[in-house]
C-alpha cells in the first residue's frame, strides 16, 4: 500500500520501485520506506502551524479537516495514520543519518524528523568531515528544502514536459559519437555520479564532461593545478591540526570555510584549551587581506593584500634558510627567493620562522584557494623543508571526479559552434562563471540547453529546457569526504516538487530511466564485487550498516607518497612585484557562499561573522583607506577596475589591509528567487580567467549617495568594562593566585531557592570561539526563531536568541578581535524577573530563567532591565506568513505570537524531554544527557552545558577553574552562564 502512495507522486510515469526488495531492506535497517520515508503530508500547503496540527500532519490529508462541530473553540482534528509505520511513535522524533555535499565533498549529518518532516540538521559524530559538528550552510539546508521559491515543474520551451522522455529524445538525436553533447556540472565526489558519467562517456565517446566550481576548492582550483604540476596527478592535502603547534595561514580560512573546516576547527581547538601554564598550546599566525574567522583568533595577524602573499612566502623561506638554517628543497626555489627579497613585516616573519624551525614536523603552512599555484608550490616547499609533510600534512588521492575540461574550454567550443546539446546539472554557472567567460551571452550558441536546478535562477532563464532538481534531503546519492571516506545520502521526505536527482538525469540519457536509489545501490554493490569476496547479501548487509551509521567508517583512502618535481616551478606564472594602489579582492560569502544560499532567509539575516552585516554585501575598506577616500560607513563608492566597474556601499572594517577593497560574491541575484532579489551587488562580472579572485583597481570615486546597511552591532569598544577577560598562556593564573575578577559586593536580594534536582549551567570557552556562527543558526532552527527582514534589522529588532558579540582592542588599523557568544545568562538574581508585572518571566527550581510566552503582555520592562540586552520582542507577528516555512518548525517549541518577549531558554524543551524520558524509562538523569542546540553544533566544542551541582560534570569543573568569570560580575545578577577567559599564546618577541 505504502509503495503505491510512494509511486503515485511520480506522475511522470517513472518506473515503479522494486517494492519487495526495499521492504526487506527497509526492515533490515533504519531506512524509512513507503509512507515512513515519504509522508505525503509533507507537501500539504502550510496553512496553520499550531503544534497539534503538526501532529495532525502525521498523516496525509489535512484537507479532510472540514467536519464542523459546534463548539466555542475552533475545530481541531485528530488525524491518525491509516497504517502506522512500524518505527514511528507519534510525538517522538526520528533521526536519520545522511550526507550533504558542498563543492562535491560530503559531510555526514544526522537529520531530525518529526512525523516525516525534517526539522533540524546536526553533524554526524562518525563522519570525519563533521565529527558531530555542523556549519551554517549544512544547517540552513533544512530551510532551503521547504523554500516556496523552489522550481516546481519541468518545462521545455515554456511548456511543461515529461523530463525523461525529453532526455531520451536528446539521446536519440545526439549522434552515435555524441560530438555535440556536453555535460556541465558541479564538482562531485559521488561514486554513483562518476559511474553515470562514465556510462555517458562510454555511450558517446565524443561527448565531454565539463566541471565548473565557483569556489575553486581542491582539485578544481589553484591548489589542484599546483599539485598536478608538482606531483603529476590530482591530490588533496589533508591537514592535521591536532598535531600542529605552529599554524601559519596565508590568505586562508581553514577553520571556517572549505570542505574540512569542521574537522580543522576541532583539531585546532584540541590544542587551544591550555588552562594552566605549561600545557601544549598552538600558535596561530595569519596573513590575510580581510578579517576572517581564522584571523579573528590568530595570535599574530598580519593585514596584507592578497597580491603580497607570494612575497611574504618568499620572505619566510628566505628567513628560514638564512636565519634558521633550513635546507631549501630545491635550487630553483632558492633562486626564486634570492630574486625576490622584501623587507616588509620583518618581526612577524622572524617570529613565524623561528617558531616553525623550532617545531619541525609540528608546524603547518596553509595557502588559501584564492592564491596562485606558485603560492601553493611555495607552501609545499616550506612544509616539505620543515618536515611537516607526512607529519601534519598528508596527501591523498582527490576523491573528486576528474572532468574533461573547464568552462574556458567550453567557452571556446561554444564559440566554434561545436555544442549542440548542453546539459547543465546544477551549480547555476551563468551566475558563477568568471566574468570574461560571459557564459550568459555564449550559452545561447548551444542549440539545446537543459538545466537541472533547484530554482528558476539565472541559468534556468537562459535554458530552453528545465528540470527541477531534487533537494539533498529528497533524493538518494553518495559522496566522499576529503579523506575519501564514502557515505550515503538518503532521502528524508518525498520530493516536494517532483525533483529529480542529477544521476537520474544522466541515467535517463543512456538508457531507460532509473531511480537514484537503484543507481546508488548498484554502485555500492559493484564496488563490493569489484573489491571481490563479498556476495550480494554481504553487500546489502554492509550497505545497511553504512546507511544506519551514515558513513563507511574507517575506509579513508590510503595516502600517496609525494615526490615533487620542482622543474614544474618554471610553469608557474610569477606575479610581478605588487604595485601600489587599491586591489579589489573578491571572496566567497560567509552566508550565501557562491550565491546558492542567497534565497535562504536564515542565512541572509545571519550577521556576517566579521562585519555583522545582514541582507547585503558591501565593500570592506580599511579605516586608513576611508580617511584617504573621505567616505563614511554606508557611503556609496564606485570601484573602477580593468574588468569593469562596481558601485557598492562601504563598510569601514578594522583590520582590513590598507590597500585592499574586499567584496563578497553571490549577491545581486537576478533569478526568480524572491528573497534573494535586489539584495547587494553582483561582483562576478569583475572576475576574469587570468585573475579569478581579484581585479586591479583603476580608480575609486565616492558617490554622493549612501546606502542603509543593516548591521547588528554598532559599537566595537569594551569601554574598559569587565565584559571579556583575556589572559596569555604565559600569564595564566594558577589556582593559588588571585581570581581574574573580584567577587561582587554584598547583595540585598535573597539567594533564589534551589530545588533538589540538577542545577543547569553553561560555560563558554572564548579561547576557542572562532565566531563561525554555526550556533546562531542551530539556535534559530531549534527554537523556531523568526526572520524579521532588513527593515526591522535596521531598527535593531533582530530576533536571534544567541548573538556573537565582537569587540576590538588596540589601534583600528591592526586591532585584536575579541569574540563572545552572548545569550540569556540565566541570572540567579535575574533583574528581569522582579520587574515583570505578570510573572511571565520567573525562576525555575533547576535554575532556569523561564520565559512563559503565553503569560507575557509585553511591557518590555524585563528587556529594559536586562544588563545583557539578550531579550527579543515580537514587534509584529513575525511568525506569520512572512516566516515562510511552518513545516520546518520544531513542534517541541511554542511559536511566539505578536507582542510577547522571548529569549534563550537553555533549550528547555530538550531538558524537559530528557527528564520525562528518564522518569518513564526509570533511569537516572545523566548530567551530560542534555545537550543544547548551540553546544551540539559547535565545531570547536566551546560550549559546555550540564548540572553544576554534580561534581563529576564538566560544567562544575570549568566553573571552578580560575579562568572562569561572569560577564558584568559587578552587576550582582549572578549569571548561570560563565565564560573562560580568552587565553592567547603570543610569541614572546611580538608582545
Amino acid at each position: 500500500m505504502s509503495a503505491h502512495l510512494h509511486d503515485d507522486h511520480r506522475s511522470d510515469g517513472a518506473p515503479h520501485r522494486d517494492a519487495l526488495y526495499w521492504r526487506t531492506l527497509a526492515d533490515s535497517f533504519d531506512v524509512p520506506s513507503g509512507t515512513r520515508e515519504f509522508p505525503p503530508a509533507a507537501d500539504t500547503p502550510p496553512n496553520a502551524w499550531s503544534r497539534r496540527q503538526f501532529i495532525g500532519l502525521m498523516s496525509a490529508s489535512m484537507a479532510l479537516a472540514g467536519l464542523s462541530g459546534c463548539r466555542l473553540t475552533s475545530d481541531d482534528h485528530l488525524v491518525p495514520y491509516v497504517t502506522q509505520p512500524v518505527d514511528v511513535i507519534p510525538g517522538r522524533p526520528s533521526h536519520y543519518a545522511t550526507t550533504v555535499t558542498m563543492g562535491g565533498y560530503g559531510t555526514g549529518v544526522v537529520v531530525t524528523s518529526h512525523e516525516g518532516r525534517p526539522t533540524k540538521i546536526d553533524g554526524n559524530p562518525e563522519h570525519p568531515a563533521s565529527l558531530g559538528a555542523c556549519g551554517v550552510f549544512e544547517q540552513a539546508l533544512v530551510l532551503q528544502l521547504y523554500d516556496p521559491d523552489r522550481a516546481q515543474a519541468a518545462r521545455l520551451n515554456g511548456v511543461s514536459c515529461l523530463w525523461h522522455q525529453e532526455m531520451q529524445e536528446v539521446a536519440t538525436h545526439t549522434g552515435t559519437r555524441g560530438d555535440g553533447l556536453r555535460v556541465l556540472m558541479e564538482p562531485t565526489a559521488s561514486p554513483t555520479m562518476a559511474r553515470c558519467c562514465a556510462e555517458v562517456k562510454q555511450r558517446w565517446p565524443g561527448s565531454r564532461i565539463i566541471i565548473h566550481d565557483a569556489a575553486g576548492i581542491g582539485a578544481h582550483g589553484a591548489a589542484g593545478q599546483a599539485w598536478r604540476a608538482l606531483f603529476g596527478h590530482d591530490l588533496v592535502a589533508r591537514y592535521d591540526f591536532s598535531r600542529s603547534l605552529i599554524v601559519v595561514a596565508m590568505d586562508a580560512d581553514p577553520l571556517a570555510s572549505g570542505p574540512s573546516h569542521l574537522a580543522h576547527a576541532r583539531g585546532f581547538a584540541s590544542l587551544r584549551r591550555a588552562r594552566s601554564a605549561g600545557q601544549p598550546m598552538n600558535r596561530l599566525y595569519v596573513a590575510e587581506s580581510s578579517p576572517t574567522c581564522t584571523g579573528s583568533i590568530a595570535d599574530h595577524r598580519l593585514a596584507v593584500s592578497d597580491r603580497d602573499i607570494v612575497d611574504l612566502l618568499l620572505a619566510l623561506l628566505a628567513e628560514l634558510m638564512a636565519g634558521q638554517g633550513v635546507l631549501c628543497p630545491d635550487q630553483r626555489i632558492a633562486a626564486l627567493v634570492a630574486g625576490r627579497t622584501t623587507s616588509a613585516h620583518p618581526s612577524w616573519i622572524r617570529a613565524a620562522a623561528a617558531d616553525l624551525a623550532a617545531n619541525r614536523g609540528a608546524g603547518l603552512i596553509l595557502i588559501g584557494d584564492r592564491q596562485p599555484p606558485l603560492a601553493h608550490a611555495l607552501g609545499h616547499a616550506l612544509n616539505a623543508a620543515l618536515g611537516n609533510v607526512g607529519a601534519t600534512i598528508a596527501y591523498g588521492p582527490s576523491p573528486l571526479m576528474a572532468g574533461d575540461g573547464d568552462l574556458a574550454s567550453l567557452m571556446r567550443e561554444l564559440d566554434r559552434g561545436q555544442v549542440d546539446d548542453l546539459l547543465i546539472l546544477g551549480g547555476n554557472p551563468v551566475l558563477t562563471a568568471l566574468g570574461d567567460i560571459q557564459l550568459g551571452r555564449r550559452i545561447s550558441q548551444a542549440r539545446n540547453r537543459w538545466y537541472l536546478g533547484l530554482y528558476e535562477d539565472e541559468t534556468a532563464q537562459l535554458c530552453n529546457g528545465f528540470i527541477p532538481q531534487a533537494h539533498v534531503l529528497e533524493s538518494w546519492g553518495d559522496a566522499c569526504a576529503c579523506d575519501g571516506t564514502r557515505s550515503i545520502q538518503q532521502p528524508l521526505i518525498d520530493p516536494l516538487h517532483g525533483g529529480i536527482a542529477a544521476c537520474e538525469v544522466l541515467a535517463a540519457l543512456v538508457g531507460p530511466p532509473r531511480l537514484a536509489r537503484d543507481l546508488v545501490r548498484d554502485t555500492w554493490r559493484d564496488a563490493f564485487q569489484g573489491a571481490g569476496s563479498i556476495a550480494d547479501a554481504g553487500a546489502d548487509a554492509h550497505l545497511a550498516e553504512v546507511l544506519r551509521r551514515g558513513v563507511e567508517v574507517g575506509r579513508a583512502s590510503s595516502l600517496v607518497s609525494t615526490a615533487a618535481d620542482w622543474s614544474a616551478l618554471a610553469r608557474f606564472e610569477v606575479p610581478q612585484r605588487s604595485r601600489d594602489g587599491f586591489e579589489l579582492s573578491l571572496k566567497l560569502d560567509a552566508k550565501v557562499h557562491d550565491g546558492r544560499f542567497a534565497n535562504n532567509p536564515w542565512l541572509q539575516e545571519l550577521p556576517d561573522p566579521v562585519t555583522k552585516l545582514t541582507w547585503d554585501n558591501a565593500a570592506l575598506i580599511s579605516p586608513a583607506a576611508a580617511r584617504r577616500l573621505g567616505v563614511a560607513q554606508g557611503a556609496l563608492i564606485e570601484v573602477r577596475c580593468d574588468t569593469g566597474a562596481l558601485t557598492v556601499p562601504v563598510i569601514i572594517q578594522p583590520g582590513q589591509a590598507e590597500w585592499t577593497i574586499s567584496v563578497s560574491l553571490g549577491y545581486g541575484r537576478r533569478g526568480a528567487e524572491r528573497t534573494a532579489a535586489d539584495i547587494g551587488v553582483d561582483a562576478y562580472p569583475l572576475t576574469s580567467i587570468s585573475r579569478p579572485w581579484s581585479a586591479a583597481v583603476i580608480a575609486v570615486t565616492s558617490r554622493p549617495a549612501s546606502h542603509r546597511l543593516a548591521i547588528t552591532q554598532h559599537h566595537w569598544s569594551l569601554e574598559g568594562r569587565p565584559i571579556l577577560l583575556e589572559q596569555t598562556l604565559a600569564g595564566i593564573n594558577l589556582p593559588a593566585d588571585a581570581p581574574l575578577q573580584p567577587p561582587p559586593g554584598p547583595s540585598l536580594r535573597p539567594a533564589p531557592a534551589h530545588g533538589p534536582g540538577p542545577q543547569w549551567a553553561m560555560v563558554i570557552d572564548t579561547s576557542v570561539c572562532i565566531g563561525c556562527s554555526a550556533c546562531v543558526v542551530a539556535c534559530q532552527a531549534e527554537n523556531n526563531i523568526p526572520v524579521v527582514g532588513k527593515e526591522n534589522v535596521l531598527r535593531s529588532r533582530e530576533m536571534h536568541w544567541l548573538r556573537i558579540d565582537r569587540y576590538y582592542r588596540g589601534n583600528e588599523d591592526d586591532p585584536v578581535a575579541l569574540l563572545q557568544p552572548m545569550a540569556c545568562q540565566h541570572c540567579e538574581k535575574a533583574p528581569c524577573e522582579y520587574v515583570c508585572p505578570t510573572y511571565a518571566t520567573t525562576h525555575s527550581q533547576d535554575g532556569l530563567n523561564e520565559m512563559t510566552y503565553n503569560r507575557c503582555v509585553g511591557t518590555r520592562f524585563c528587556s529594559n532591565n536586562c544588563p545583557y540586552k539578550v531579550r527579543r520582542f515580537n514587534w509584529y507577528n513575525f511568525a506569520d506568513g512572512r516566516d515562510p516555512l511552518p513545516l520546518a518548525r520544531n513542534p517541541e517549541v511554542t511559536v511566539r505570537a505578536r507582542g510577547v518577549m522571548e529569549k534563550c531558554t537553555y533549550c528547555v524543551q530538550r531538558i524537559r524531554t530528557t527528564e520525562h524520558r528518564s522518569l518513564v524509562d526509570g533511569v537516572p538523569l545523566r548530567t551530560d544527557a542534555v545537550v543544547t542546540a548551540c553546544q551540539q553544533t559547535c565545531p570547536t566544542q566551546a560550549i559546555t552545558f550540564g548540572d553544576m551541582t554534580d561534581p563529576a560534570s564538566a560544567v562544575a569543573h570549568l566553573r571552578a577553574h580560575p579562568l572562569a568569570y561572569a560577564v558584568l560580575e559587578d552587576s550582582g545578577a549572578q549569571p548561570r552562564t560563565r565564560y573562560l577567559a580568552h587565553v592567547r599564546n603570543p610569541h614572546p618577541e611580538l608582545t
Partner: protein, 456 residues
C-alpha cells in the same frame, strides 16, 4: 508655600458687584459662548481623530509601527505617560493642598486646574495600555481570581502604577465633581432654556443649597482634600519607581521620587498658566483671575523649577560620587555628548535657565512672557522624560547592544494627537461647565475687602 503676597497689592477679586452680578458674569460663557473657542474646537477635534486613528492602527498592527527597539524598549509612549501624569499634579496640588493651607488665591483657578488634571490623567492612562505588546490582556496587571490561579506580581512597580493611577483618577474626579455641585445647581437655576435647566438639574444631583447640604458638603470636601493630598506626592513617586527600581544605568537612582514630584508640579503649573492666560484674555476674566493669581503661579513655577534644577545638578554628582562606571558613562558622557544630546541641553535651557528669569517681578507680570515661559517649561519637561527614558536605554551595560532610536510618524501622531484630545476635552469643559468655582468666589467676595489688606 505662603506666597499669598505679603507685598502683593492686587486683590483676588476686583469690583464689588453683588452675587447675582457675579453669577451672571461668571456663567456668561455658558449661555453666550465666545465664538473663538468654537473655532478652536475644530482643529482640536481633528487632532483627536488623528490620535484615535493612530491608536487603532497600533492596536491592529502591533507596536512595531513605533520606533521602539531592543535596547530602547520604552520611548515615546512612556515619555508621554509620565509627562501627562506630571501635568495632572498641579490640579490636585491647587485644589487639595492649597485648600488645606487656606490659600484663598486658589479659588478662581482651582476648577480649571482640576479639569486639567482629569483630562491629563485620561491621556496618561491611555499610553501604558497602548504600549503593551498585547494590550487586550492589560487586565492581567490587576489582581482578579483567574482560572490560572495566578496573581499579578506585586514586586513589580508596574502593578503599583495600576493602583496609583486608577486611585488618582477616581479621587480627582470625585473631588472635581463634588466641588461642582453647588455651581451646577446655580447653572440650573439661571439657565435660559428649559432643556438646559433639565440637564444641569440632572447633574446637580438635587442640590438645593440647604444648610444641611452645605454642612455635609464642607465636611466631604475637607475629607476629600485630605485624601487627595498624599496622592499628590504618592502618584508621581510611584511613577518614578518604574525607573528607580530598575538596574538600568540612568534609572537606578534614589532621588527620583522627590525629583519627579517637583517636576510634576512644575509642569502642572506651567500648563495651568498656558490655559489660564489666553482664557483670561479671551473671556475678559481679569477681574476674577487677577494679576495676583498669575503672580503667585509664576512664583510656584520659580520655586519648583529651582528644585528641579537642583535635582539636575544632583544626578550627575551622585553618579560620579558612586563611582559606578555605567552610571558615570550615562550621566557624564551618554547624555551630554551621546545621541540626543541636543534634547538633554534643550531640557537644561528650558527647565533650569528659563524659569530663573521669574525672579524679576516685571516678568512675572508680563503675560506674554509668562505664556512663552510656561510653554518652554512644558517642552523642557517632556524632553526631560525623553532623556531619562531613551538616552539611558540606548547606552546600557554591554556596548555590543548599544543602539539608537528614531521615532516614527505614528509616534508623532500619538504625541500631538493626545495634546489635541486634551485641548478638545478642555474646550468642551469651558463651554458647558462652570469653570470657575462660583460658590467659593461668592464666599471670597464677602471676605475680600479684608483680604486685600492683611495677608493670611
Amino acid at each position: 508655600m505662603s506666597m499669598a503676597g505679603q507685598h502683593a497689592a492686587d486683590p483676588l477679586l476686583i469690583g464689588t458687584s453683588d452675587d447675582a452680578a457675579l453669577t451672571q458674569r461668571v456663567l456668561r460663557p455658558l449661555w453666550s459662548p465666545h465664538p473663538a473657542l468654537g473655532w478652536l474646537m475644530i482643529p482640536a477635534a481633528l487632532g483627536s481623530l488623528v490620535f484615535i486613528t493612530a491608536l487603532c492602527y497600533t492596536f491592529v498592527t502591533g507596536i512595531g509601527v513605533w520606533g521602539n527597539n531592543i535596547p530602547v524598549g520604552w520611548a515615546f509612549a512612556i515619555t508621554n505617560f509620565v509627562w501627562w501624569i506630571g501635568i495632572g499634579h498641579a490640579g490636585t496640588f491647587i485644589s487639595a493642598i492649597l485648600y488645606l493651607l487656606q490659600q484663598e488665591w486658589r479659588t478662581s483657578i482651582n476648577r480649571i486646574a482640576e479639569a486639567m488634571t482629569l483630562f491629563a490623567v485620561v491621556n496618561a492612562g491611555l499610553f501604558p495600555i497602548a504600549h503593551l505588546g498585547r494590550p487586550w490582556f492589560f487586565y492581567w496587571l490587576a489582581p482578579y481570581p483567574a482560572t490560572m490561579e495566578l496573581w499579578p506580581q506585586f514586586r513589580s512597580s508596574l502593578t503599583w502604577d495600576v493602583a496609583a493611577i486608577s486611585t488618582y483618577g477616581t479621587v480627582s474626579f470625585l473631588f472635581w465633581y463634588l466641588g461642582l455641585l453647588p455651581d451646577l445647581a446655580t447653572a440650573r437655576d439661571t439657565a435660559p432654556t428649559r432643556l438646559r435647566r433639565r440637564l444641569y438639574g440632572l447633574c446637580a444631583l438635587g442640590w438645593r443649597g440647604a444648610a444641611s447640604h452645605w454642612r455635609s458638603y464642607r465636611i466631604a470636601y475637607l475629607l476629600l482634600a485630605g485624601l487627595a493630598t498624599p496622592l499628590v506626592v504618592s502618584v508621581h513617586s510611584i511613577v518614578s519607581l518604574d525607573f528607580a527600581v530598575a538596574k538600568q544605568p540612568g534609572w537606578h537612582s534614589t532621588i527620583f521620587p522627590p525629583y519627579f514630584v517637583a517636576g510634576a508640579i512644575f509642569s502642572g503649573f506651567a500648563m495651568v498658566l498656558t490655559l489660564v492666560i489666553p482664557l483670561r484674555a479671551l473671556l475678559r476674566l481679569q477681574d476674577v483671575i487677577t494679576m495676583r493669581h498669575i503672580d503667585n503661579m509664576a512664583k510656584v513655577l520659580l520655586a519648583t523649577g529651582s528644585i528641579v534644577a537642583y535635582s539636575y545638578l544632583l544626578e550627575p554628582f551622585t553618579a560620579w560620587y558612586s563611582g559606578d562606571p555605567y552610571e558615570r558613562y550615562i550621566q557624564l558622557v551618554g547624555r551630554p555628548a551621546g545621541p540626543f544630546a541636543w534634547v538633554f541641553w534643550l531640557t537644561i535651557v528650558c527647565n533650569v535657565l528659563v524659569p530663573q528669569v521669574l525672579w524679576l517681578r516685571s516678568l512675572r507680570r508680563n503675560l506674554v512672557a509668562l505664556l512663552i515661559i510656561s510653554l518652554l517649561v512644558q517642552l523642557g519637561m517632556w524632553s526631560e522624560r525623553f532623556v531619562i527614558v531613551v538616552t539611558s536605554l540606548q547606552r546600557g551595560a554591554l556596548p555590543s547592544s548599544w543602539s539608537s532610536y528614531s521615532p516614527t510618524l505614528i509616534d508623532a501622531c500619538l504625541l500631538f494627537g493626545s495634546m489635541s484630545l486634551f485641548l478638545f476635552l478642555f474646550l468642551v469643559f469651558v463651554r458647558f461647565v462652570p469653570f470657575i468655582a462660583l460658590s467659593e468666589l461668592k464666599l471670597l467676595r464677602r471676605k475680600e475687602p479684608v483680604e486685600t489688606q492683611v495677608s493670611p
